[in-house]
Amino acid sequence: MTTELETRDHDVLVIGAGGAGLRAAIEAAAAGVSVGLVCKSLLGKAHTVMAEGGVAAALANVDDRDSWKVHFTDTLRGGQYLNNWRMAELHAKEAPDRVRELEAWGALFDRTPDGRILQRNFGGHRYPRLAHVGDRTGLEMIRTLQDHGIHQGIDVHMEVTVVSLFTREGRIAGALAYDRERGRFRLFRAKAIVIATGGVGRAFKITSNSWEYSGDGQSVAFHAGAVLQDMEFVQFHPTGMVWPPSVRGILVTEGVRGEGGVLKNSEGRRFMFDDIPDNYKAQTADNPEEGWRYVLGDKNARRPPELLTRDHVARCIMREVRDGRGSPHGGVYLDIAWIKEKMPKAAEHIRKKLPSMYHQFKQLADIDITTTPMEVGPTTHYMMGGIRVDGDTQMSSLPGLFAAGEAAAGLHGANRLGGNSLSDLLVFGRRAGEFAAQFARAHSASTPDAGEVKEATQEALAPFARPTGENPYAVQHDLQSLMQDLVGIVRRQEEMVRAVEGLQKLKARAANVGVTGNREYNPGWHTALDLKHLLTVSEAIVASALARRESRGGHFRDDFPDKSAAFSSFNFVVKRAPDGAMELGKEPIPPMRDELAKIVEEMK
């Protein structure tokens, strides 16, 4: 079988064309270096297109008490102070300019009565902060970046999948990829590489994520020697669809709650009032009346408990279901229809503010959300962990390798606030692009070792030599069930130990999967190649989750249900040991600059 290679040279190679990758590519191209951009799907189809609720930025258009300082402290509180505080600072300061820049590139956000960008409420954000377009903000964002980017001289390689990275003399040298259409290999030589490949949701059975989210970026970076961080922190979004079975996991945007939607159990009780964490008590309404006033924009009202952070809301839902107060299909009720008691023309308002939710339920579940409550339950949604980067430059521990967006770690700590991802992509996509271009300028080209490249192509083709090997989809499904059942939203020591053993068995099976058919657009082969990445990130998740013997943010341990001060001052990291094994370590969180520490204290 041919292993012939096409070779492409770029100063900067960006892997991933979601919000982070596009923004990085635009910035690098603007700096005057040659830029290649590769993505597994067609341009404009990345996960970013699915984002619904909005992009968080302290524009203060709706509430003038908002500022970067409030956004900064909200982000740290939500992340339980494990965040890279430098990233949280830069993010809060720069997000408003990044959003305005989108407007200058053609984005049309919903407007305030005085013609500025409208902002909506979201969980964990003290003031209305999310710039949005109905519930299709991600589409607006990716289309704006795409339509701007295609005129910047960027070389776009669509439906091209990177399988491994190469280093030379201690820095990044290139990447090996195959094109889906013909199954041929392409070697990219680059002075700097930006990883913007998104998350890992496909490691779990119930997820809002697409097939693309197999952790490729985190995995190839790990195998090339870069450090991963915070891998135990997986976000389970409280509201995914639960019925019918074929839509289980599809996201129901937090925007529903931002617009006044409430959570109820089978007894009709708004159970979120029953458990409000101490550090949020001062900001949270303790009665429905005040909560509704908040939704209407009353500045003296505190926000309803449905808008507490996602980790907490997800656990409250799990509790209701466990204690027998769930809905018929194992979820709880999310009711937006009730606002008709409070406002005229409520149905019209819901269709205007939440058009794709209306459409999604109508078409996929035969439910009219303007009259009927939705059934919802937690779904795997977002990876807080990822490639460890420098807060200013986004460079990883491997020189020349950068990461941005969901693939990178740091900004969100133990739990991400809704809306903070889209802003993350813009702020750190831009920074990664800028510093990757700078790195490329300062370094000469280098070439991956031919022997290593050959080995990587042979490894990628190996499944074709086993036409009677195991079905790759079967291994993938078993992996997803294992992670869902044993390392999901509620974790226990014994179960995770079983997961470790299970992953070893799955590794052996993955080494024996076979592929039928040829190399042209063969999803069986693609699935076989994704297994290595899924296994790598799963292993990192379990190793880190076992070590964190406490509960914090997205990581909940039944056997250690409380937060522990012993785990509050460092991040868990994993890296590849010289023998290829995974090694777990700790990295202390450096003390915050005085002026920032003061802000945190003031806003407590």
Binding site: A46, V49, M50, L108, G134, D147, S210, Q363, T516
Partner: protein, 251 residues
């Protein structure tokens, strides 16, 4: 569980045939679920594009029982399962493999349309003010998920293959979004008439009927654009300049 039968187009580069598969059906299933089940259990190499499974990315376009649809938004309970369900690729684009077609032409067309070029910011804070009612229309156009189903169904492309002369409904919507954007300053009427071939559209509205985003492509985008282009072409001054340059088209 009951079984349903699917006839799925399989083959490469234009050659191929319907192959029949039976697969169990459960409540709420969409066509894409059935395709995935068949792929996982019976045909690992069945080529198909998808991403979001929620009608948001526009990847899973196909012709289901001859109708251009998104596979992820087509419920099995709206189809007649007593007969086999046919699933085939979009027929207006070159075929790659199974359900996957070469849609790269669309991406090339977009590049030819001149990009958004705003007027200078004129609000005191260095941005702009826009009223909601002034952006409503353009927001409708910006709902487009680039599924290319409208391109698939438009007879100018499907039957007459005028891909070099006509940009198709998707890009007329795109052009309309730019032309009606409150901040944009360019005038694209000339190229719409010439390079982009707006005149080829004879308002059959087939595109509007298949749009999964319910964009009123013809009434809201194409007809107003045509009117603008006409006004421009028949503007006496434009006509005069045109006569001098010898570019005014015949009737």
């Amino acid at each position: 569980m009951a079984n349903a039968t699917f006839q799925i187009w399989r083959g490469e580069q234009g050659t191929g045939s319907f192959i029949e598969y039976a697969t169990p059906v459960s409540e709420g299933m969409v066509v894409l679920d059935a395709i995935h089940d068949i792929q996982a259990a019976q045909a690992n190499d069945l080529a198909v594009r998808w991403n979001c499974k929620a009608g948001k990315c526009g990847s899973c376009s196909a012709e289901i029982n001859g109708q251009p649809r998104l596979m992820c938004m087509t419920r099995l309970n709206e189809l007649d399962l007593a007969k086999p369900v046919t699933v085939e690729p979009m027929r207006s684009f070159p075929h790659h493999r199974d359900l996957v077609t070469d849609v790269s032409w669309n991406f090339r067309v977009k590049k030819k349309i001149r990009k958004f070029t705003p007027r200078r910011p004129d609000a005191p804070d260095g941005t702009w003010r826009m009223q909601q009612e002034d952006v409503d229309r353009v927001q409708e156009f910006r709902k487009c998920i680039e599924c290319f189903l409208c391109q698939d169904v438009c007879h100018v492309l499907r039957d007459h293959h005028l891909h070099e002369e006509f940009i198709g409904p998707r890009y007329l919507v795109h052009a309309a979004a730019l032309e009606m954007h409150p901040l944009d300053t360019l005038d694209r009427r000339e190229e719409l008439r010439k390079a982009h071939g707006i005149g080829y559209c004879n308002i059959t509205k087939c595109c509007t009927m298949v749009c999964p985003e319910h964009i009123t492509i013809t009434d809201n985008a194409i007809i107003p654009l045509k009117e603008r282009v006409m006004d421009h072409a028949f503007d006496p001054i434009v006509k005069l300049v045109g006569l001098i340059k010898g570019t005014t088209p015949g009737p």
